[in-house]
Symmetry: D2
Subunit: 319 residues, 4 copies
Amino acid sequence: MNNKKHIVAIGRAAIDLNANEINRPMEETSTFTKYVGGSPANIMIGTAKLGLDVGMIANVSDDQHGRFITNYFEKVGVDTSQINVDEDGHKIGLTFTEIKSPKESSILMYREEVADLYIAPEQVDELYIKNSEYLLISGTALSKSPSREAVLKALLIAKKHDVKIIFELDYRPYSWKNEEETSIYYELVANQSDVVIGTRDEFDMVEHYKSKTDQEISALLFEEQPNLVVIKHGVQGSHAFDKEGNTFEGKAFKANVVKTFGAGDSYAAAFIYALVKGKTVEEALKYGAASAAIVVSSHSSSEAMPTVDKIEQLIKEQS
Amino acid sequence: MNNKKHIVAIGRAAIDLNANEINRPMEETSTFTKYVGGSPANIMIGTAKLGLDVGMIANVSDDQHGRFITNYFEKVGVDTSQINVDEDGHKIGLTFTEIKSPKESSILMYREEVADLYIAPEQVDELYIKNSEYLLISGTALSKSPSREAVLKALLIAKKHDVKIIFELDYRPYSWKNEEETSIYYELVANQSDVVIGTRDEFDMVEHYKSKTDQEISALLFEEQPNLVVIKHGVQGSHAFDKEGNTFEGKAFKANVVKTFGAGDSYAAAFIYALVKGKTVEEALKYGAASAAIVVSSHSSSEAMPTVDKIEQLIKEQS
Amino acid sequence: MNNKKHIVAIGRAAIDLNANEINRPMEETSTFTKYVGGSPANIMIGTAKLGLDVGMIANVSDDQHGRFITNYFEKVGVDTSQINVDEDGHKIGLTFTEIKSPKESSILMYREEVADLYIAPEQVDELYIKNSEYLLISGTALSKSPSREAVLKALLIAKKHDVKIIFELDYRPYSWKNEEETSIYYELVANQSDVVIGTRDEFDMVEHYKSKTDQEISALLFEEQPNLVVIKHGVQGSHAFDKEGNTFEGKAFKANVVKTFGAGDSYAAAFIYALVKGKTVEEALKYGAASAAIVVSSHSSSEAMPTVDKIEQLIKEQS
Amino acid sequence: MNNKKHIVAIGRAAIDLNANEINRPMEETSTFTKYVGGSPANIMIGTAKLGLDVGMIANVSDDQHGRFITNYFEKVGVDTSQINVDEDGHKIGLTFTEIKSPKESSILMYREEVADLYIAPEQVDELYIKNSEYLLISGTALSKSPSREAVLKALLIAKKHDVKIIFELDYRPYSWKNEEETSIYYELVANQSDVVIGTRDEFDMVEHYKSKTDQEISALLFEEQPNLVVIKHGVQGSHAFDKEGNTFEGKAFKANVVKTFGAGDSYAAAFIYALVKGKTVEEALKYGAASAAIVVSSHSSSEAMPTVDKIEQLIKEQS
C-alpha cells in the first residue's frame, strides 16, 4: 500500500455570510453568520468529513478571513500544506446569502481581484499532485489568469503521472469575460479529464454540447479522455454515462429544503467518496443525492456536510 | 429666508460589518451586524440626526447593500435625490471591524472597484450644489477617477456660486496610488476650500506641510482661500485657527471607549452643526469633542450618532 | 540680472514619421522621414531656434527613438537636464503623417502607454521651475495619470514662486477618457494660469465656454488668474484679449501650404518669443502668424522652425 | 481532388520599418522603408510566393497600415477573406529594424494593445479551417487573450476535423506575462500538434524540455500527438525527428548576410512547401535552409521571399 492522498483539489476557498434573519429580503436583515464556502473548498470539507485523506491547493488572503479558512480546514482534516498566503493584498471572495423563502434565495458576491484567482502556476507542486489518486479541478478556477494557468499546469502534471482528473464544471457567470471563453476552456479541459460532472446548464456553456442530448454529449467526450460523465438535472435527478456504454439514472432525495445552494458541492463530495471507495456508479449516485438532501435542509454549505452514517441512513430511509 | 439645504456631501457611502463577539481576533468571531458607514455618509447621518437639512451626492450598488444604505438615509432624513444607482455592477465598499480590546481594534476593507469611486462628473448637478450653504468634500473621494473628477467638478461649481467648501481630509491609504498623488490633490483642493479639517497625520500627507507646525500650516492655507483650519490630535484634543489670527484649543472629552473608529465622523458632524448654527469656533470644538466621546462609547459609527440634547448634556457634565 | 531660463515646458516629446511620397494615401507610400514632434517639444525647439534660453521637462524611452530626441534637443539648444529616461519600457509616441493634398492631410498616431504620459510628479524639480520666468503647460499632458499629477505639481510650484504660467490647450482627443474629464481639468488649470492660448475648438472643450463668445470666455477667465487670452480661428486669424479690456485682431499670413500641421506650435513659439522679449501683444500676434506661415510651407514641424530674421522678413513682406 | 487550401495561418500581421541607412545605430538614421512583417504573415507570403494555396486568419487595424497589409496579401496571393478589420482602434504592431553591421542588428518593437492580439474566438470560422490541409499556429498568438483563445478554438476545430497542425514556436519575450505562462501554453499546444518547429532556445522555454537533449524532447512529444519535430540551431543547422525513430541533419547554406531577421520565417515557408508537396524530410530541410540563406542576404523579410526556382537553384549550387 502507498500513502497517497485520495484526492486534492485546486480552486477557490471563500467565505459565505449567511443572513440570520430568513424569509425576507437582505436589505431588511441585520446580522450574518460566517462559514467557509467556495465549491472545491466545500467538496474537500465534505470528503474530509466522510473520512477521505484530502488536500487543498489554494491561495488565501493574509488577513483574518484567510486565517479563518485555514483554521477551519485544519479542524475538519483537509491538508493545508499547499495553502498559499497571498502577498499582494488580494482578499477572500465573499458570498452574502439571502433566503427570501425556501424556494427563493439569492446571493450577492464580492469577487473583484479575489485571492483565489491569483493562485499562480509556481504554487502548484508537482510532487503533491503526483502523490494523490485524484485531482479535482473546479471550472471557476479556469476563469482568469493566473489561476487559469495554475490549473492547466496541474492538469499537465496529473496527466504526466496518471493521476485521475475529476472536472467539476462549477460555472459562475461573474468571473468569465464572455461565454465564448468559457466554452473553449471547458471543452479543452473536459477533453483531457477522466470524470466530468456538471449540471445540464453547465454543459450547455460549451458551444459544441448546446443542442445535444446528454447521451450525445457523453459520446463526444468518450472520443477523448473521459470515461465517466455525470449530468445533473436538479430535482429531476441525474444521468451518469460510462465509456462501456452504460447509462445510470439517479433520483433526487426528498428534503425539507431551507435553501438550494450547497446542493452541488455536497453531491460531488459524496459521489467522489463513493467512487474512491470503489462503489458502483449506481451507488455513488445515491450517495450524492442523499448528501445533497441533507445539506439543503440546513443553514450552511460547509458546516452542514454530513458523515457517512447520516448519508447511509438516509439512503436506507428513502430506498 | 431661502430654502437652501444646510450642507450636501460628496463621497462614499459604505457598509460596516461589526463583529458581534468583541475582545477577540476576528478569525474567532462568527457573527456580524450591518451598519451604514463611510466618512461623509456618517457625517451626513450625524448632521441629519442633529436636525440639519442635508443631502448626499453618492453612487451606490444596484443590490441589497445599496438599497439598505438608501433606505437608512431616508429613515434618518438625509436627502437621497442625488444618490445614483450604479449600472455597471460596482459593489458597495465593506469594512469588517474587529474589536480585540478597547484600545486595539482593526478593520478589514473591501475596496476593489467599489461603487463610491465610480461616481462620475455627470452625476454632479449644478443646481443641487448651488442650493446648499455648504459643500462637504471627503478626501477619499479624490483618490481615484472618475470620483476624483466628480469632486473637482463639484468644487468648480461651489466656487462659481459662492457655496462654502468644507474639506475633510479623511485620508485612507488603500485607495491612493501613492503619497505623491495624495499630496498634490490635497494641496490643490485645500487651497480652494473655506474650511479644512483633519488629523495632524492627515495634514502630514501634504509634502509642503510635513515639517511645519500647526500654526505654519494654517498660515500657508490662509494665503489661499481657507479661513478656518482645524487640526486634530486625538486624545490630546485639537487646534483651530482662523484667518483673523485667532487660535482655539479643543479638549477631548472623557469616554468609556468601546472602539476608536467613528470618532472623526461624529466630531465633524457636530462641529459642522455648530458652525451652521452660528456658534463660535470655541463652542463648535466642544460640540465636536462631545459627539466623538458619545460615539466611541458605542458599537456602531452611524447608528450611534447623538442628538443635540445628548451632546449638550455631555458638554454640561464635563465643563 | 539673474540667469533664469526664459521658459521651460512640461509635456510630450514624440516622433513624427512623415511620408516622403506626398499627394497620395499612406497605404501607397513606402518611405518615411523621421523628425522630433509633439506640441511642447516643437514649441521649445522653436523658441530655442529664436534664441531664447529654454528647457524641457519630459520623459523619453530608453531606446533609439528616445536618444534621437534628446540628441536633437541638444543640437538646437533646448536644455535636457530634466529629460528623464523611462525605466519601465514605455515607448515614444509616434505620428505617421500622410499628405494627400495641400488641403487634405491626416495622421496615424501610436499613443498606447507612451513615455510622455508616464512623466511622474517626482520628476518635477522645484528649483528648475523656480529658476524660469515662464512655465509652459501643454493640455495633452493633463490627459492621463501620472503625467496629469506631474503637471499639477508643476503648476503648484510655479504659483508658489510667481513663475508665470502659459497654458497651451493643445487638445488631442485620443488621450482623454471623455470630454467631461477634459472640461474639468482645462477649466481648473486655465483658472490658475496667466496666459491661455488655444483654438476656438479647443476652448469649446470646456463646458462653461461652449456657447459663449470669445469676449465672454475671456471675461470669465479674467475673474480668475489669467491676464492674457488668445483664441485662434485658423485662416481667419486670431483674437487676443487682455485684462485691461483691450482686444487685438491677428491676421493669418499668406503661405504656400504643404500641410497644416505644425502651424499651432510654430505660432506659439514665436508668440511666446515676442512676449518674453517685451513686444506688444499686437506685435506678438504678427510673429506668431508669420512663423506659422513658414512652417506650413515645409515638410516637417520641428526641423522647419524659423529664425527671427526669417520671421521679421516675412512680417516686412506682408505688412 | 478537393479544393482545400494547402495551409491557413492564425496569428499576427505587422509592419516592419527598416532603416535605410545601414551600418549605424538607429538614432543616426533618418529614413525608413515599410514592409509587411510578423512571423505567420511572412510564412504565408513565403508559401504563396512558392505557389501554395494559402490564407490568413488575422485582425488588422482600421487605418492605412491595416489596408497596406491587406493589399499586399492580395497582391501576392494570400487569401484575405478571414482578415478582420478591428473596430476598437487597435493598431498594427511595428518593428523598427536597425542594421548596425551584418552581425549586429536590433529591433525596436511597438506591441502595446496591438490589433493582432485582439483577434477574438468569434472571428475563427470552423468551415474555413475544416477546408484546409494544414493549420499553422504561431506561438506569439498564444501570448495574450483574446488571441490566445482564438488560437485554442482553431486548435479544437482542427483536431475535430483532422486538419494537421503545425506549431511554429515563434517565441517573442515582449508579449508574455512571464516564462511560466509561456511554458504551460507551449507544452499544452505542442502536445496536441502534428508538427512542431522552433529554435533550440524556443524549445527551452518549456520547463519540461529545458535540460533535455533534442532527442529526448522529441521522445516526450512523440508520446503525445506530434509525429515530426524540427529543432533549429542557427548557423549550426537543424535537427528533425520523426515518430518512426529517424533523425535528420539539416545544414545551413552559405549566404552573404545583410541581417539575420527573417531567417526563421523563410525557413518555415519553404520547409512547409516541401512537406505539402510530399517531399522527404531531408529535402524539406534543404528547402528551408536555402530559403533562409536567400532572405538574410536582402533588406526585407517579406518582400525578399524567394520563388521555387531560386531555392532549387541555390540547392543545386551548394549541394
